[in-house]
């Protein structure tokens, strides 16, 4: 019962993060800043969802596999984000005019 409540909280929290990530992708002005909103989805969104599923499945091999998925995701998703940003930059996509610093 407590485990169920905890897992629901985690999964709903993860879903909330994914939803906000989606809203961010729509609201933010350019590709590079939208990457940050997508980052919400693959960090806290994915982590909370998978943690909720681990609580659901308890002390089983399924939980071990879910944990491995989480670890792989935390190595793969920044690599993917960086590849996207590097590709956008290499193909000359300009940053939003309001961007500060030296682009």
């Amino acid at each position: 019962m407590i485990a169920d409540a905890l897992s629901w909280l985690l999964i709903l929290g993860g879903g909330g993060c994914v939803l906000v990530g989606g809203i961010g992708v729509i609201r933010l002005p350019d590709f590079y800043s939208r990457l940050h909103a997508a980052g919400l989805t693959d960090t806290l969104g994915a982590a909370l969802t998978v943690l909720g599923l681990i609580v659901q499945s308890g002390w089983t091999l399924v939980s071990v596999k879910l944990a491995i998925i989480l670890v792989v995701l935390f190595f793969a998703s920044p690599t993917g984000s960086h590849a996207l940003a590097a590709a956008a930059r290499a193909s000359g996509l300009p940053v939003w005019p309001g961007t500060g610093g030296r682009p």
């Binding site: 933010l28 990457l35 919400l40 961007t99």
Partner: protein, 173 residues
């Protein structure tokens, strides 16, 4: 620059540890414990470790055993940073005024070797609000969603902690 190649004995130890880890992965992912499958798993793990050893890829970069002892501390801090920056980005996205100040900053990774630079640039990208756009030797170009996020990176705490993880001496930014 690449890490210097290890001595023969050291590479042997790494290959042995790799074989054990691969076998553990096999057992945990298959969930079958029949003798034939266990033996087949052990044989495959040993074969892959032996091939990797012959290819010379079980070095400090291929299997970073040195980092294991200091990794929990770094990762605990990194998870905390990920949670913090997630909350910050969520707050900015949901604020009706959309209070963002995107900027591009240049950073220098103090960890001189490839392993440290990769850990640093991946940690930057993993915390929402900052993405590494370009890596050239140990110079990084980072896109930040807010000036505060960029200033945090400029302050260099993550850089220092990566150096603490890989054992490189930290430099002032």
């Amino acid at each position: 620059m690449a890490a210097p190649a290890g001595k023969r004995g050291e590479r042997g130890v790494r290959a042995a540890v790799l074989a054990v880890l691969l076998f553990l992965a096999w057992v945990l992912l298959s969930g079958h414990f029949e003798p034939f499958l266990i033996v087949a798993g052990a044989a495959s793990a040993t074969a892959v470790a032996a091939l990797s050893w012959r290819m010379g890829v079980v070095d400090r970069e291929g299997l970073a055993l040195e980092l294991l002892r200091r990794a929990p501390r770094y990762h605990a801090w990194l998870v905390w940073q990920i949670v913090r920056s997630n909350i910050d980005v969520i707050r900015r996205v949901l604020d009706p005024r959309l209070p963002i100040t995107p900027c591009v900053v240049a950073l220098e990774a103090s960890a001189g070797d490839d392993l440290g630079v990769v850990v640093y640039s991946n940690s930057i990208t993993l915390t929402p609000g900052t993405v590494t756009m370009e890596v050239e030797k140990n110079r990084l170009r980072v896109h930040a969603l807010s000036a505060e996020g960029a200033a945090d990176l400029k302050a260099g705490e993550m850089d220092r902690r990566v150096c603490g993880l890989t054992g490189a001496p930290a430099r002032a930014q």
